[in-house]
Amino acid sequence: MRPEIELISAVSRLIDAHDTKRKLGAPLFQVSAPNIDLENASNHLEISLCILDVLNELDEGSSDLLHPKVEISFQVKKKFPKADDIDIDYCLRLLSQARDIHYFPEDADKPTTTRATQLIERPRGDYEQYRLTEASRILFKVNSLKREWLYEDLDTEKIIRALEKSQFESVGPLCAERQRNMDALSKLLTKIEEHTVSFSDVFTTKNEFDSIKTTTAASLEITKKAAGMLRSDPATESRIKEWCDERGINANEFRSQLLQDCMKINRAIDGISRRIDRFVKSLKSMLGKAVAVRNFMSIAEELATRPRDLEIIESYLHKMIPIVIEDNFFAPSDFIESVDLCDYQPKALPDYACTDMSRYVEEEKVYMTSFLARNRKWIVDRLKKGPITFQQILETGEFEIQSGENLSHFFGVYAIIDDFGETVRIAVGITGNKTKYRDDSLEITGDNPVLFLIDEVNT
């Protein structure tokens, strides 16, 4: 949508409200708006916008220049070939009519009327010439500023200027305004990311977006500078003190408040900058079209009434239904040789004291693998019945321990995952639980991993 149409759309309901035919106190049945013929309305709006555009272009930066109707008409037809002279003439007259707008001035309880809203004017005289008015110049100004105002942050420097010129009362509102800008930009990015609008609907070119990125980065530097001034610049500190003394305010508290405001907006800008970086990385997927809502109910109905193999439906069910994890364990096979393990500790030390065990891992792995190999038949038979925790294995006492080994060798081994035979693998997973085990000579505390079979047996 063109920016000028967006602007018109933005205020259109306000105009409806102003022009409403509803009597005060009448019940609300429907929104009062004039009946509109689509073709007619589009033509007149387009011709009117073209007239303003043409006058602006003919001005070439100057103001108060008068332009003959013939030339305006010629240029409008170039832009919008469907326009004819009668329609152009009508629109020229329409735009040059003053329009009454009734409103309540601030702090007044009686309405007043302004008539200064004609968009072009025709000076008195015989020549049919037109020029833009201040009202239309405001329209152009707002139009050109719109993106900057909404999505860029050109005015962050005002915070610095306010600090330099002792206009400290402005800092809070300026920061709040910046925050609103960040929120607007953020919402816009969300809309694009969520595909409710497409990137190309909002930004005509990627360069346009890149300029926002640059501006945001600059804003971040400016807010950092402002925070720096408030934190440690003696001149700023002195100005704040003087300003506060005049008003009987505690200077330290006030400076602290200003600093908080600046830091808040600094974090907001920092957040949006990081988000823009991520956004740019995934921009390719954002360039696509906007998407529409899907009717899941009709999909359900289709499934119920049209042929489909239940096996295929089952495979999709497996893909869609959420994961439920009954036991809090996992198989950290990728952490082998790098995870730091909770080790057994002598009795005197507190339970669950942890130490970096990376240097012991290899040794422990050897012990554990050897243990598993030695006790293969027994352990596989046991695991075929279901997972077993390490403590449960130790408590059975049915395994074989060689001389030189004690139970402590098997603690902290949850990183072990190894091929075990051709069809069975044993995975060892963290449970988050701890175990204590008393041996003749040791009292051991440590993790209580769970062992389970994977591949053919358990899946």
Partner: protein
């Protein structure tokens, strides 16, 4: 992020599936004595952004069939500061065997104490899932990508029942499809209102167990809010183009039908309006 922290973060995320510096629509997860706190999880992840360890952690998660997504508060429709991590199921990845769906088939799709046939489990599972998505998305004119509406999207048990009962009645009126095409129809239309209520009650309970929904406190009837995790997983499902669920009516129709069916979206053509 040290390997130990990776393990601790993973343990936390596996349990709660989310970690947030400033939780939205929920209170902070309680910390149990053997685990690190939610705040610590966020701090560890945030401080290691873009590091090799973080990438290693992501690789590890990918191996388990998970993906770690993160959002700023503003990105997911909340005001103020906050960073939110979600451990979501990676839509197209192979899942580690220990996260198999056995649980669902053992519990979720069983109605009452009866031993269900597998066909029944499959049919009720997919149908209730789709009706729930209708209530969470279609009804609110929401696309599957609109994560930011998760907190505002609620579902009540009563309306779930009404929609399902109405839907089954509609199927009855439509009549049974011929031959084997009526398998799903047969299973659904045999259910009475009481059975539908029982199944939905159980389904919603399990959706809460799976962290897809959370009950809204203070409501007199059972009302649930969609979780951030559920919204994220739905958007991933949409991206991964799960298709083909609806069979084509004929060979000619095959190509257009198979795409986008379960994606929760359809791409608009040039000039087409989102609201059309």
């Amino acid at each position: 992020m040290t390997p130990r922290q990776m393990g601790e973060v993973f343990e936390f995320l596996l349990k709660h599936r989310e970690a947030s510096s400033n939780p939205i629509y929920r209170s902070r997860f309680p910390t149990d004595k053997n685990s690190i706190s939610e705040q610590q999880v966020v701090q560890i992840l945030e401080s290691s952004f873009a590091s090799d360890q973080y990438r290693f952690f992501e690789d590890f998660l990918a191996g388990q069939g998970f993906v770690l997504k993160y959002y700023d508060s503003t990105q997911i429709g909340a005001r103020g500061e906050g960073l939110h991590f979600v451990l979501a199921r990676a839509a197209d990845a192979c899942r580690a065997p220990l996260y198999a769906n056995k649980y669902w088939f053992d519990n979720a799709f069983n109605y009452g104490q009866k031993k269900e046939t597998k066909d029944k489990k499959i049919v009720w599972g997919i149908q209730l899932w789709l009706i729930m998505q209708y209530l969470l998305y279609t009804r609110h004119s929401r696309t599957a990508f609109q994560i930011s509406l998760f907190g505002q999207t609620t579902i009540s048990e009563a309306e779930f029942v009404v929609h399902t009962v109405d839907y089954i009645e509609k199927l009855r009126k439509k009549g049974r499809p011929e031959g084997d095409n009526g398998v799903v129809w047969d299973i659904l239309t045999k259910a009475d209102r009481k059975e539908v209520e029982g199944r939905i009650h159980k389904f919603l309970d399990l959706m809460c167990t799976a962290k897809m929904l959370m009950p809204i406190k203070g409501e007199t009837s059972a009302v649930y809010r969609q979780t951030l995790l559920a919204a994220v997983e739905m958007s991933l499902t949409a991206q991964s183009s799960i298709d083909c669920l609806v069979p084509p009516k004929s060979i000619e129709e095959k190509m257009p039908v198979v795409t986008d069916v379960l994606n929760g979206y359809v791409a608009l053509e040039e000039g087409e309006n989102v609201s059309d």
